[in-house]
């Protein structure tokens, strides 16, 4: 591997990802326009105003006043009263939907600054989501390797049955059961709420724990099947013929190969961690982006919902691009030609 090949390889990687990012633009544009038609055509600004003002005693004047004050009084996608480019730009499509590409989301229908809300609320979301993800991966891989070590025994069979049982229980049960046991009966942590700064851990530890436990069943079973496929491959037999012990075979050979599909599936969701968890946050009263979304839906504040849908798409596309990059990084067989 000379330096020459390195630079050329770097160029190939760069142009590959540049192309991927260019591909992402039409995807985002499509999602943007679809969301726009859902939120503005099916649910017209008049309906929005009525919902915001309360359904009783709403006069047409009140509706138009509300529309003017929230800048919903523009035509949908073509403004005949304007001249030149403004015919297109001075419209709802441009001002409310396409403007999201600048990541300036403006005010919510209730008058709050969405950008400020997001930058404040993403931290509690991350404080739950990141530790949950990391612990989940470690715990599930650990359990999966243990099942592989004891494969074809009654221990494994029992464990798989328990996994299926754990999978079959609703997430709500884990949340409510956990709150009851650890907060109400044992009184180890508060039931719900949040505090800024380092003291937040009182409030975070239970949701994180429940997030991890509720994922053990499906995660362990999935990782087990990945490792199980690896362990029947020829290179594992070669490793055993070298004299390696079963544990060494698992950790040096099986784990490393099995990590490829696991890593890439995890990388996809890393950017979306910003969005927080809808269920956990609303049940534990965590002021993150998940509960922000729930509150917005409840209050029919569609400016926030549109923003979150757009952000979700951006993060997911970003996740897919990161996945490609990870593959390139961890799997020596993947090369860009």
């Amino acid at each position: 591997m000379g330096g020459d090949g390195g630079t050329r390889g770097g160029l190939i990687v760069f142009s590959y990802f540049l192309r991927k990012i260019l591909y992402a633009i039409p995807v985002l544009l499509g999602v943007n326009i679809l969301t726009f038609s859902l939120f503005f055509v099916l649910n017209s600004p008049d309906d929005m105003a009525r919902a915001q003002l309360g359904n009783k005693y709403v006069t047409p004047t009140m509706i138009s006043q509300w529309k003017v004050s929230h800048q919903y009084d523009l035509p949908l996608y073509y403004n005949e009263t304007q001249t030149g480019l403004a015919k297109w730009t001075d419209t709802l499509l441009f001002k409310k939907s396409l403007a999201q590409f600048t990541f300036q989301f403006g005010n919510s229908d209730q008058g709050r600054n969405i950008n400020a809300d997001i930058s404040q609320r993403m931290w509690p979301s991350l404080a739950i989501a990141v530790p949950t993800l990391i612990l989940e991966i470690i715990v599930n891989i650990g359990f999966a390797l243990m099942l592989i070590f004891f494969r074809y025994t009654s221990f494994e069979l029992t464990a798989v049955l328990i996994c299926v049982a754990l999978m079959s229980i609703s997430g709500l049960f884990y949340i409510i059961g956990g709150q009851y046991l650890f907060a109400k009966v044992l009184k180890l942590v508060p039931i719900s709420g949040y505090e800024t700064g380092l003291d937040a851990w009182h409030f975070l530890i239970l949701p994180i724990m429940i997030g991890v436990i509720s994922g053990i069943g499906s995660g362990t079973r999935w990782y087990r099947s990945i490792f199980m496929e690896e362990i029947s491959k020829d290179y594992v037999r070669t490793a055993r013929a070298k004299g390696l012990s079963e544990v060494a075979v698992l950790f040096r050979h099986v784990l490393k190969n099995g990590m490829l599909p696991i890593l890439t599936s995890v990388v996809v969701i890393i950017p979306t961690l910003f969005m927080g968890s809808l269920l956990l946050e609303s049940f534990f009263g965590i002021p993150g982006l998940g509960s922000y979304m729930i509150d917005a839906i409840r209050a029919q504040d569609f400016a926030i919902v549109r923003t979150m849908v757009f952000l979700g798409t951006v993060f997911y596309v970003l996740g897919l691009i990161l996945t490609d990059l990870t593959y390139l990084w961890v799997d020596p067989r993947v090369r860009l030609e």
Binding site: I12, Y235, R237, T238, A241, G243, L244, R252, K256, P332
Partner: protein
């Protein structure tokens, strides 16, 4: 331990049958046929330094049903000698090898009287942790498929050094060339430096010219031959005294095979290794082995030194194996089929051929573009087939020979219309091949295990061609044409309602042939139709193809890398190398007066 236990009685060769069989602890009652009537033992008086396998039996251990897979196997590999273990797939060769290093697949167990001695250790008495010391260190293992037997995400260096580290083998710094040395000094810690010097020297001795670069490569970056050399290096790293090679040359080309075999022979001499060499190919046995043991259905049926065996094989099964090898001398006859009653006879076969040209390929070129950069510009082309011209006449068999990557399969795909032609013409009976004409040319693929849809019934597989042509067939299993075809390819009518996995490899290839014949083609493209099959299956499929050719006046374009099959089966041959057609002519001229250097090499290797 028990180094002096001598299980062979004074006169081995005439040991009574009962005595031999009584060694097996599992019941041998279900065995019948040729195998049971003849149990062979070693021609040698074993010495304590030999590697011994005594009364080895392996079977399933479930209570409900006991199935014996290996039955009283007795082998002795004298110090510094090679024993070839020969048999067809499913005969238990590989299982014998795995049982020596105690790596039986789950669900199998050793019989009570089984004994294995390696370096005066009674292997089967060793617990797992002691066994781990023996694997790799006392016994080196070379696996069949280097593509899958190497870990894809670790470098060659990491995989080789692992054995050194695991067995705590200290290596001395062997001085290597200056340039390599300075490179290593920069990159590694002292221990790694020493290990990599040692490994580089080892790889170099195995014929890898850039060992240091190879150590930093991942398996997929190496060619098949290189990977097999790495595999051999992996078995030799800890300098074992006993080597097990499980079909080490099956996955590589003829020329590479010859190199690997001579390499194995050489290291075995240099290091005074004992070797158990497993193969299904009788032609390689002569090149490497001192003794040969023939295995059939889990039993050793013949055991002799190589000269005696090749001079006069004793057991009927061995004789049948020899008879089933296709060769130039057996042309015009059907090959004898294994297990057939009434001994071995060659039945003559007449053949008609007209000189009317059915298919003509003119200046055919197929290039694959390599695209790069942001806008996918074409920067280079791979010339998969370059300027190839030939003719195929009615009733003729034209062989296309060459190594993997020479463009044989690309050529076949182009004739089928599955690829875009870069330039040149393919003319079928005086007109360029059109889509509507396609049913006149059909293809039979290489691997019958993957070329048949596992979710479709045999009848549906066979009539799929008719359906694709637009015919409406409601119940394929009731179509008389299907029965007729099944009968023609030698399968029972009941096969209709079964799935491909219920058939053996040879039977599946018959299904594939029936599928091709339903459209009554004039030309069959046969892409290595027997390379995935055993010798006996190969003989059956070749016989079937010969009979069908006679009955249906078919022309064959027969792609193969096996020269003995070619010389038995084909009338004319094309020799391809790197996309070029280097030589074409009658079988006689290719075999007996090859002009091109490459053809001469091929013929030379095939005749060894």
């Amino acid at each position: 331990m028990h180094p002096h236990r001598n299980i062979y009685t004074a006169s081995q060769n005439d040991a009574p049958l009962e005595d031999s069989l009584s060694g097996a602890s599992l019941s041998a009652g279900s065995r019948e046929g040729v195998a049971a009537s003849f149990v062979a033992t070693s021609p040698y008086q074993p010495s304590p330094h030999d590697y011994l396998i005594q009364h080895l039996s392996v079977g399933t251990c479930t209570q409900a049903e006991q199935k014996i897979i290996l039955n009283d196997v007795n082998l002795a590999i004298p110090h510094g000698k090679t024993l070839a273990l020969v048999g067809e797939s499913g005969s238990g060769k590989s299982l014998t090898a795995l049982s020596i290093i105690q790596l039986l697949p789950t669900g199998l167990a050793y019989g009570d009287k089984s004994q294995i001695y390696v370096d005066e250790l009674s292997i089967l008495d060793l617990p797992e942790h002691a066994m781990q010391q023996v694997r790799g260190k006392n016994i080196g293992f070379i696996f069949q498929e280097p593509m899958t037997a190497l870990n894809p995400v670790l470098t060659i260096g990491q995989q080789l050094a692992e054995t050194l580290t695991w067995h705590h083998i200290a290596v001395q710094n062997i001085s290597s060339k200056g340039q390599v040395k300075s490179y290593i000094n920069k990159a590694f810690s002292n221990l790694q430096k020493d290990q990599y010097h040692f490994l580089a020297a080892l790889l170099f001795s195995l014929g890898i010219t850039e060992p240091m670069r190879c150590l930093h490569c991942y398996p997929h970056q190496l060619s098949g031959g290189m990977k097999q050399r790495v595999m051999i290096a992996m078995a030799l790293v800890a300098e074992p005294s006993f080597l097990i090679a499980d079909e080490p040359t099956t996955a590589v080309d003829v020329t590479v095979q010859a190199q690997i075999l001579s390499l194995l022979r050489q290291i075995q001499k240099e290091r005074a290794l004992s070797m158990l060499f497993i193969t299904h190919d009788l032609s390689v046995v002569k090149q490497v082995a001192d003794d040969i043991a023939v295995m059939y259905r889990g039993q050793i049926v013949e055991y002799a030194d190589v000269a005696t065996f090749f001079g006069s094989p004793q057991h009927p099964y061995s004789q049948q194996l020899f008879a089933a090898i296709p060769s130039y001398e057996k042309r015009g006859c059907l090959l004898p089929v294994l297990g057939e009653e009434g001994g071995i006879k060659l039945s003559p076969l007449s053949k008609e051929q007209d000189n009317q040209v059915l298919l003509e390929v003119k200046d055919l070129c197929i290039y694959f573009p390599i695209k790069q950069g942001l806008f996918r510009r074409t920067v280079e082309v791979v010339k998969a087939v370059d300027n190839v011209s030939f003719q195929l006449c009615g009733g003729e068999t034209l062989a296309v020979v060459g190594e993997s990557g020479s463009g044989k399969t690309t050529l076949a795909k182009a004739i089928m219309g599955l690829l875009t032609i870069s330039s040149g013409n393919i003319l079928y009976a005086d007109s360029a091949v059109e889509f509507s004409k396609k049913s006149d040319i059909q293809m039979v693929f290489q691997d019958p295990y993957s070329s048949l849809n596992p979710k479709m019934l045999v009848a549906d597989i066979i009539v799929e061609g008719l359906r694709a042509r637009g015919e409406r067939i409601k119940n394929a299993a009731k179509l008389p044409a299907v029965f007729k075809l099944l009968d023609q390819v030698g399968l029972p009518k009941e096969s209709c309602n079964r799935y491909p996995h219920e058939f053996s490899g040879g039977q599946r290839q018959r299904i594939a042939i029936a599928r091709a014949l339903i459209l009554s083609p004039k030309i069959l493209l046969l892409d290595e139709p027997t390379s995935a099959l055993d010798l006996s299956m190969q003989a059956q499929v070749l016989n079937l193809l010969k009979t069908l050719q006679q009955e249906l006046q078919l022309s064959y374009l027969f792609i193969t890398h096996n020269l003995s099959v070619m010389s038995y089966f084909a009338d004319r041959a094309l020799v391809m190398q790197n996309g070029h057609l280097v030589e074409q002519g009658s079988i006689e001229s290719i075999l007996f007066s090859p002009e091109h250097l490459y053809t001469q090499t091929l013929v030379k290797y095939a005749q060894v």
